[in-house]
Symmetry: D2
């Protein structure tokens, strides 16, 4: 008999951990996934409390992810996938452990620190036939999917220039206020051991890279970047020139010190036949401009929206969907794929329309190239 329900586990994501809650809420949109095991915190009390809050059996609340991977892989009713929502520095080892136990994986981004690690994870996932998703969640927005659709369908012709950015304001006080420096940039974000070689590029610049790549299908050949640290150990701002494999160019900018911006991921793709513009803060809309015509303000859920963007519609147009729903779309697709895999069904390209280990790898390469260029007076660095 066909399985209709998947069981999942979580590493990280104790009560009140922000991103863990987002993952759980996103998964909850589907009625077919049940949280069944977890290793939520290295703090035993918090770990236990979180398990109780989500009504887990106490023997499936593990004190180490290694034990969890091992035991769950041995249970007949073991988890079908694990969501890894720990700080960046532990992604690699945790993901590797679960892959080696044959458990499907959803991992937060950035995937890991080193290009070699990312390549290894990608290779192992393929060898072990593990479904591996990296939560670049913005590609879950229906209108991002429709942007990709329009590009795929040739509606903007060949891409000739990209203008993309992701500015935020939230670390602006780091520029002026020595005393409060610990308040927001505390913990793992400023500690290279935990955050890796980059703060701003790693956290948000990588979303520019991934979202543009998703929409256009272009690969970055090289980058030239000016990276600003403003006296901190890690970067807070970066301006980039980007060259793609088709020879065209783009300008990227990411910042955590740009007053007036919240999560301003904005992407504009210019082609020989048209252009598209999308803004994460108004994700329900996509501006499409055919050459020589007036801009059209496309909105999610309307009858003229087709393909994946239409498949993922939850509520009628005009009742806004947001970030949770984008995240839920990633999970809906991923869980669907896991179910098909469990049931021995063929997976189509649409079934696999979620960010994968390759996307994680490309993100790590991008971060390294940008930081390296920044450290070399903006010389071009190949990816």
């Amino acid at each position: 008999m066909k399985r209709k329900i998947v069981r999942y586990g979580m590493v990280g994501g104790s009560l009140n951990a922000f991103i863990g809650g987002v993952h759980r809420n996103a998964i909850n949109f589907e009625s077919c996934a049940v949280l069944s095991a977890g290793c939520f915190s290295t703090n035993p009390v918090l770990n236990k409390e979180t398990g109780e809050a989500y009504r887990l059996d106490s023997d499936r609340v593990y004190s180490s992810y290694k034990e969890m991977a091992e035991k769950e892989s041995q249970r007949e009713d073991g988890i079908d996938f694990v969501s890894i929502v720990t700080p960046n520095n532990s992604h690699y080892e945790i993901a590797k452990e679960f892959i080696l136990h044959g458990i499907n994986i959803v991992c937060e981004k950035p995937l890991c620190f080193e290009v070699g690690q990312a390549e290894e994870l990608k290779r192992l996932a393929e060898e072990k036939d593990v479904l591996f998703a990296v939560t670049y969640a913005y590609s879950g927005y229906p209108m991002v999917k429709f942007a990709k659709q329009l590009v795929d369908d040739g509606k903007i012709g060949e891409v000739i220039n990209v203008s993309a950015e992701y500015p935020q304001e939230w670390l602006i006080d780091e520029l002026s206020d020595v005393v409060s420096r610990t308040s927001k940039l505390s913990g793992w974000r400023t500690d290279p051991k935990v955050a890796g070689i980059s703060n701003c590029v790693g956290d948000i610049g990588s979303h520019i890279e991934n979202t543009v790549a998703y929409i256009t299908g272009l690969k970055i050949k090289r980058v030239a970047a000016r990276v600003d640290r403003f006296g901190h150990e890690l970067d807070l701002n970066a301006n980039m020139l980007v060259e793609y494999d088709n020879g065209s160019c783009g300008n990227y900018w990411c910042s955590q010190v740009a007053v007036g911006n919240m999560n301003g991921l904005r992407i504009r793709i210019y082609g020989t036949l048209g252009a598209i513009e999308w803004d994460q803060e108004k994700p329900e809309y996509l501006t499409f401009i055919p050459k020589g015509e007036a801009p059209q303000i496309l909105a999610r859920g309307n009858q003229y929206v087709y393909g994946r963007a239409a498949e993922l519609k939850r509520i009628p147009c005009g009742h806004p969907e947001g970030y949770y729903e984008a995240f839920a779309n990633l999970y809906k697709t991923y869980i669907g794929a896991v179910l098909k895999k469990i049931n021995g069904e063929e997976l189509t390209a649409n079934d696999l329309d979620f960010p994968k280990a390759l996307d994680g790898l490309n993100g790590v390469k991008f971060i390294h190239a940008v930081i390296k260029s920044g450290d070399n007076d903006a010389q071009w660095v190949n990816l």
Copy 2:
């Protein structure tokens, strides 16, 4: 010991019924409510399938709401509240039944057909000490709550004019296309027996009434309305003059045949000291204009947002929340109130910040007054 989890039931809301799914997803945002009983459909097969899909015990999937009300009220682990998401014509009798069994209620809007029915439900709910919510969900948007906050705090002074509207496009073909008339206006929406005396005013005009009332605290004294039916039995468009109890006036417009509009609930409140503007299709923003100053584009989640709007923040600013989250906010508040009631705690005004039976009653009065004025060449009709 304190209860931390509530059990709820549902009348209506079988698989694929749109609004039922919205309710369940909204409730799922909180980890503390468990679907425990249901009477999802008059179709026994569908009823059973829905119960299975949500993993209910089969003896708590009822074939009639009367049986459900009776049996659940007798169980020790019976439901703490019921969500009524059936067509409009059954709200009254179902709600009454559960009230009489002392079960708390969440009911879709419009509450019922007749003013007398609404008054009765309101009175009974008070007598039976039942927490009664009506799902005017737009007041769940944080920036609607912040609009109310600004008005309450005197930031716009005394209200002198209101301009509000709720246009949609979706029934435009009813104007021209005889053949397809059955496609969208089919079923209960055009049948006065099921929909009541109004289609457009009842469905969306009532949201204007409720949202303006929520934000301003003003009561409508009388309305003068021009109602358009375009050859149909029920209304598709209405222009209204509205007079409030403070002597000020407003213009309302609702339409299901206004090309280019999805769910265009837009509210502008003008006062002696300032003005506020809000648009449901961009619900994360609230424009606030202090007299003599530049318009400010306030956005949910920022540090300058305070009060209830801040309490209900789920994710940081700039990652959009939408319709589901607004709905979830209504339920979060309501479930919190139910838990406090169960645990014998005092309920504050903030605990009760959800639309109640009185709001349901005001909605029914508004619909009747508008339709009556429309039938009398736009003469004023008192509420």
Copy 3:
């Protein structure tokens, strides 16, 4: 030989008088009109200074408009048209005087106070074959003309609802600040003898009436209005229901006490096949939404703009034209018509695409009907 240059005179419009300067600048956009005579002020010194500033012959700077009409009509090189930019209460008698001397007229709006006066001016202008323009300047915006074009070409089908407004903030202090009442509402605007029966409806409500009429070609059958005076002698705010000759309805709102609005003339026309939206504060754009499709943001000067809107293009798209240029478009058309008339050429409908005495008459009728309805508890008043 064909005349290529017209001579014009001005009544009112002394140095620093706001609207007189707008008229002169608007005329200056065309190189073919020369200011040749004037009666700029009843203040002899100011009158003389204005004449000198514009380098007029001193014998053509008149102390009375009657003398000016008489003498100019007798000169061989007399003015071809006169622009009347005096306060409202003198329009009628001045216009009448020039008509009777056979001089073409451009008159500020509102045309005059009484419906009978407007009818008389219209009749006399026809009898005397005088080209009579009333400066409802907003119809001079190219995108207003393109809105009319789209309606004329059937692009939105039959009009079924209109939503239009003209809010301003500038008199907000009249609501609260007794001391400063004289500052802005001084002079003719609050004195019924100078301003007529209406302040707000006359000054800006009439622009709603005219612009909607221009775009749609609809005639208003009757109005029902709530008019607010807030303790002043004349109106500051009005909400209106409007019924057109095709049976459709609209809601109008004008206000001088709506915080956050500058000159917010906004017009939305909904039809059976599409809709158009235009905002005077962003006059270069016109939103056009075909039924079932995405909104299109049309912009002046693009290749998809055709007809009158294209003819009147001055600078390429994207270099904004504004209020002066709209005014200049009115004059360009009017002066072109005067030249053709002088040269004995046939005048086409396009040549006469400026607001005429009939528009002035309709404006006066509208103002009277709204005020009368306001004084009768919003009962319908026929135009």
Copy 4:
């Protein structure tokens, strides 16, 4: 006695020449400047016709600019300034000729081809005490002036990043349509002999440079640029990294092949205390965001606008001013300075608030640096 009227001449700007007409209309906004001489075209017939159209004395319509410079400088009633609106390649020699005859100059941009020429003109103008303006007209917009004001007043703190662009669509067909290549890129724009070393950067990229410099007061230290020619002789697109003298960085982008853009000069300045954003296509507005607060949409003409932006107000807020008025503001200031100079009055900084020879020189330097960097694989080039 004080002079109140200035006389001006024009080189270039025959009838129907676009930019010449803009200049004349801009000058016409002031009543104090009279076109008195011209050398409008090398085509004698067109030259004569233009002189007649503007009612010049025939002896002041010159067949060569040299003759004009000589004769006008000798007349007692000779021109007070000359506007040079010829193609780019002749600016240098014409400007030099008039400077040497001591005649004040307004010159179109780019000022000239070579950095050495620009330096020479700047030096000569100083030596000859000639008022020299270069028509970077965008700095004439009141809200650009207010942006500068806010920066000058410390409202955004120290600049830390600039994001600025000027995309257009109009040459998009050059990418695909070999046949029509001559249509738009014809004449001087593609011929390096006439256009200089750059098409896109010279024509519009230079406006980014100038407007950012005007607002921020920052000087560019070096640029790294990727320049795209798409098979043409001159550039059509360029992405740039820019480093300023205060150590901060910016990203610039200009394009003539970006679908959906008209004249999209958009400038965003981020500082330690706030940010400002301005868009040439909506020039009446300026977004100002103080750190930690909501964005404010400032609009021209309101009471909160002060300084130069307020001085240059022509019409009340909400009646849009546009490109002509920006140009007119430049001329208003320049003509005011010429009058003061003629009358022997002291010139203040405000009197000289127009783009000068130094701005022209900086523009030429910028163009050369960008093109050079583009030719060297985006290596940094110092200005």
